[in-house]
Amino acid sequence: SQKIEQNSEALNIQEGKTATLTCNYTNYSPAYLQWYRQDPGRGPVFLLLIRENEKEKRKERLKVTFDTTLKQSLFHITASQPADSATYLCALVTGSARQLTFGSGTQLTVLP
C-alpha cells in the first residue's frame, strides 16, 4: 500500500541547532516533492519544491534533499529560531492531475 511517513510527530531542539525532518514514502513515483509549514489555526504555507532529478534545494536557512532511490526527503533548518516552531508537512506530487498527497506532519518546537 502507499504510505508517506514523517519521522516523528514531534521534535524538540535547542535554538541555534540544525533541525532535520525526514519524509519517507513507499509505492509512489512522485514527479516532485514539496514542503509546507503550518502554524496553529492557519492553512499550510509552501516552503520548497524539489524535482525528482534534483538532489538538493536551498532557500535561506532551509535545505531540502531528495533521494528517489531511498525514497526519502530530508528537510533541514539551520540556525533554528523559536519562530521556526510549527508543523512541517511533506507532500508528494503525483499523476497527471498533479495531486498532492501529504504526510502526517512533524511538529517542531525550537526551545530558546
Binding site: Q34, Q38, P44, T87, A97, R98, Q99, F102, G105
Partner: protein
C-alpha cells in the same frame, strides 16, 4: 490582498443540517482544491477542479458536493451533516505550488 479566502471561518451546526462553505481565489489559478484536516492534523484531498471541471474526486461520501461557478470560485456543499464531518476544511488553488485558504472549522453537534 487575500489570495485564497474562505467563508465562514467557523461553522457550528446540528447533525442532519445542510451547509455550504465558499472559497474564492484572486491569483488567476486554473486549479482549485478542497482538503479535509482531521483532529489528528492529517490533511487529505477531497476534490480538485481545473477550469471548472472536476479532475480529482477522492472517496468522499455523496453528501459532499463541490460546485465551481467560475475559475475563481469553488464552493463545498454538505448535505445531512454527521458528527464525523467535524474537521477543518481547507480550500487551495495552484499553478505549481498550492496556496491555502485560512480554513473553515466545522463542528457538528
Amino acid at each position: 490582498d487575500t489570495a485564497v479566502s474562505q467563508t465562514p471561518k467557523y461553522l457550528v451546526t446540528q447533525m442532519g443540517n445542510d451547509k455550504s462553505i465558499k472559497c474564492e481565489q484572486n491569483l488567476g489559478h486554473d486549479t482549485m482544491y478542497w482538503y479535509k484536516q482531521d483532529s489528528k492534523k492529517f490533511l487529505k484531498i477531497m476534490f480538485s477542479y481545473n477550469n471548472k471541471e472536476l479532475i480529482i474526486n477522492e472517496t468522499v461520501p455523496n453528501r459532499f458536493s463541490p460546485k465551481s461557478p467560475d475559475k475563481a470560485h469553488l464552493n463545498l456543499h454538505i448535505n445531512s451533516l454527521e458528527l464525523g464531518d467535524s474537521a477543518v476544511y481547507f480550500c487551495a488553488s495552484s499553478r505549481e505550488t498550492q496556496y491555502f485558504g485560512p480554513g473553515t472549522r466545522l463542528l457538528v453537534l
